[in-house]
């Protein structure tokens, strides 16, 4: 009696929900490894995906320690986006441990990685490919293709979002190239706290010097610091930049001793919180260029 009634109820429920479910299926559960990638996935996926970002704003994606909540998120995901080029060293173990069987989309696929200047634990390739706006186009194409494969129904929506974003990218690219183009040849050297700007430097003909190696793990040596101070003096570098994730103390000391000024904060591996100056990828690139320009152009 009861079971019959239950079955009836269930059937009724199913019938009433069926057209609704069909019209608007559950959003695609997408996971991105860090904030910058997450922002791009969000831009393409829009309302059709439910996005979770593992390493949030202002956090270091190089040496992140995944939590069990992350493993659960990954296990339940429909699609997983990673930067690749060895950026997320912790990811492989996380995917394995979580039992995730879905597709892992590498956003940098098709991008030729720049070699590292020195000291590598990324297999000799600089992973910060997003620091060049031209590479961001490849990121967007890869993300769109993967989303279209995973959710063919939304194919057209993704294509529209992609085109809108690519237009914004192109506009920003031109604007920033003009800004940087105004800088004279001898005012293109800056100092930052970690070698994250290889692609950026190559794209805009700038020269970045850093007191540390490629990552935030190694400790600087006295010789490095002395060499950097000498270089700042010799090349008359005017501006030193701190980064959003690294302790500014060492750079402030170097700036004070070499006579350079601290030019501001650059965002390399993570966005600022949404209400900050670099809440999205586009805002971040704009902020970095403008901060650099102001410091370098100042007499």
């Amino acid at each position: 009696m009861l079971s019959q009634w239950l079955r009836c109820c269930l059937l009724l429920l199913l019938v009433t929900w069926l057209p609704w479910v069909h019209a608007e299926e559950a959003p695609l559960k997408a996971v991105a490894t860090f904030s910058i990638l997450g922002d791009m996935v969000k831009a393409v996926g829009g309302e059709r995906i439910q996005l979770t970002t593992l390493v949030g704003a202002d956090s270091d994606g190089h040496v992140y320690q995944p939590t069990s909540a992350d493993a659960k998120t990954v296990a339940q995901a429909d699609i997983l986006f990673v930067n690749g080029l060895g950026f997320e060293g912790w990811l492989e173990r996380l995917v394995e441990a979580s039992g995730y069987k879905g597709k892992v989309v590498t956003a940098t696929e098709g991008i030729t990685g720049l070699p590292l200047a020195d000291g590598d634990n990324h297999g000799g390739v600089d992973p910060h490919a997003w620091q060049n706006l031209a590479n961001a186009k490849t990121y967007i194409q890869n993300i769109t293709r993967a989303l279209q494969d995973a959710d063919p129904v939304g194919s057209a929506v993704y294509a529209i979002n992609r085109d809108t974003y690519l237009q914004q990218l192109a506009a920003l690219e031109q604007q920033l190239a003009e800004t940087i183009g105004k800088l004279p040849e001898d005012r293109r050297s800056v100092v930052t706290s970690h070698d994250a700007f290889g692609y950026f430097a190559a794209a805009y003909q700038l020269k970045f010097l850093a007191p540390q190696g490629i990552n935030t793990e190694t400790e600087a040596t006295a010789k490095d610091v002395a060499a950097l101070i000498e270089q700042i003096r010799a090349e008359k570098i005017t501006a030193v930049f701190v980064e959003n994730m690294v302790s500014p103390r060492l750079l402030e000391q170097i700036a004070a001793e070499s006579g350079a000024t601290v030019g501001g904060t650059l965002y390399a591996d993570a966005l600022s919180p949404a209400d900050g100056v670099a809440g999205t990828y586009l805002a971040m690139m704009k902020h970095n260029i403008e901060t650099l320009y102001q410091a370098l152009a100042a007499k």
Partner: protein
């Protein structure tokens, strides 16, 4: 030539001078307390404490941002709580002191990591919290120097009760009103030195400069006065050597300083390979 090798780096670069001043201040303030820790058979307490104060520093950071005062106070409070709880558990149960200290420091450390993780990734905050020898700014230098001054003043006042307490704590408590408070003040100073060293120089440096020179000095002499002087001298010498090596051979400064202290320890241990007798005789004489 010799000048270039030994002195020029300090003459040419302000950051090297700051590093030397910072480590020397640590040597003057922390090393004497390391000697007393050693004599009280508490050499590992420094290590445990250095980890135990983490939640205090983290809470200080979360409440007040990168304020040295807030973080120092937080570390000090938590360090004292751990110290008091440890001695209470030791007195009220049959656990030995090292066991309850181990338990408390692990709990405290885990709590610290938890608090830090609540503010995003655990690693970047650790970078912000722990200083580096090469990045001593004015605030950090001032903190280390103040703590060193306070340490030396405390030592001057409490020297006799401290020595007495080391060897016969019951007698010390019975003869002096200072007696009851001596171990408390001693622990406060140890924690204070650790917290200061933490921000300015990093964990490894803070504990290393406190304990290693004391161990070296203990191998060379039985006289307490000589031991203290020798420990401070060794700490200063090795900081200087370590910084020079870091400069000339391109090595990270903190570990290099600690390793030169370690080298000194191994050398001393080789020289001191003989049976030790009557370890406290000289101190007894001194007290009589």
């Amino acid at each position: 030539m010799l000048y270039d090798l030994l002195f020029a780096p300090f003459a040419d670069y302000v950051f090297m001078q700051r590093a030397l001043v910072g480590t020397w201040a640590m040597a003057l303030g922390a090393t004497p307390f390391g000697v007393f820790l050693l004599l009280r058979r508490m050499s590992l307490v420094g290590d445990a404490m250095a980890h135990a104060i983490l939640p205090g520093i983290a809470v200080g950071y979360l409440l007040a941002g990168l304020s040295l005062t807030a973080m120092t106070l937080g570390g000090l409070v938590v360090g004292m709580v751990v110290a008091v709880l440890t001695s209470m558990v030791t007195r009220l149960t049959r656990l030995p002191e090292d066991a309850s200290l181990a338990a408390f420091y692990l709990v405290s450390l885990a709590l610290g990591v938890l608090i830090i993780s609540s503010k995003g990734s655990s690693v970047d905050l650790v970078h912000v919290l722990f200083g580096s020898v090469l990045a001593l700014n004015n605030a950090a230098l001032l903190l280390v120097a103040s703590i060193a001054t306070l340490s030396m003043l405390t030592l001057a006042v409490l020297y006799r009760p401290l020595v007495l307490e080391c060897f016969d704590s019951a007698y010390c408590r019975s003869v002096s009103t200072f007696g009851v408070w001596t171990p408390v003040v001693f622990l406060v100073m140890v924690v204070l030195n650790l917290v200061g060293g933490f921000h300015a120089l990093g964990t490894l440096m803070a504990v290393g400069i406190m304990i290693l020179p004391a161990v070296v000095a203990r191998l060379w002499t039985q006289q307490l006065g000589t031991m203290l002087a020798l420990a401070v001298t060794v700490a200063m010498l090795c900081s200087w050597l370590g910084l020079l090596m870091s400069f000339h051979f391109d090595l990270p400064s903190g570990p290099t300083i600690i390793l030169s202290l370690g080298g000194m320890y191994i050398l001393s241990a080789l020289f001191a390979l003989r049976p030790q007798r009557g370890k406290v005789d000289s101190v007894r004489q001194f007290l009589q």
